[in-house]
Amino acid sequence: MSDVADRVRKIVVEHLGVEEEKVTENASFIDDLGADSLDTVELVMAFEEEFGIEIPDDAAETIQTFGDAVKFISEAQ
């Protein structure tokens, strides 16, 4: 779990150019981390690549926060 969180955090920090401490459990990609809708698509693409999983579009829409992403990926693995 913590390994997943670290890897997700690293992707978010790199992709959105935000400070690591801002990427908290409830941080919303769009509202708190300055992502636009296309950024969220790209984040999902990056997660798919990093973790070797498929994230269907309807599931991707439910991934709004850092915590959502970690939870989804942990369960998908």
């Binding site: 296309l38 790209e42 693409m45």
Partner: protein, 245 residues
Amino acid sequence: MFDLTGKTALVTGASGGLGGAIAKALHGAGATVGLSGTRTEPLEALAAELGDRAHVLPCDLSNSEALAALPGQAAAAMGSVDILVNNAGITRDNLFIRMSDDDWDKVIAVNLTSVARLTKGVIRGMMKARWGRVVNISSVVGATGNAGQANYAAAKAGMVGMSKALAAEFAGRGITVNCVAPGFITTAMTDKLNDDQKSAILTQVPAGRMGTPEEIAAAVLYLASPEAGYVTGATLHVNGGMAMI
């Protein structure tokens, strides 16, 4: 100027005169080209003429499975698709009152829907690379209309609208999406016209002649180049003054 060394370009309809000229222009600027089309022989001949950096990727865009496979085949052959030129197109001309549903559907499917699907298939790679060029070959009749071409004009105008929407979506990713709208060009498509039809058309062209495929290819090369990075959502009309829009 217009150096495409290290870039990869997928050109549909490369078995035709216009697509062949576009592929040659991009290849001449240093790009690796993927030549797609329905007829393998002319593609092989073009690849042989170009030599290195040319890959033959036969695809019938009206076949949805073949269409879905093309982006992957192109990426496998060339390593990536940095530039996509949606050039393939068909005509099924008829007066609207006589136009069959099938003729309508076929033209929309090949000239518009396949463009959307192919673009979708390559744009993820462009997003990751933070660089991409999509050049859609529209037509003057997409802007002006033309009797007997309701299906073709609708598809070509649809292409322009779609290009603008995509341009807005992807501008922040270094991807530009533009159209080139040829007027009357000497290709197999216009060879079908008889001399009377041709001279009637030429009375409407201030330049007094038909354009050449190379003149379209030059416009595509510009829009595909790094120098055109600030041009997006545009339609470049190459029509000898036939429609000044």
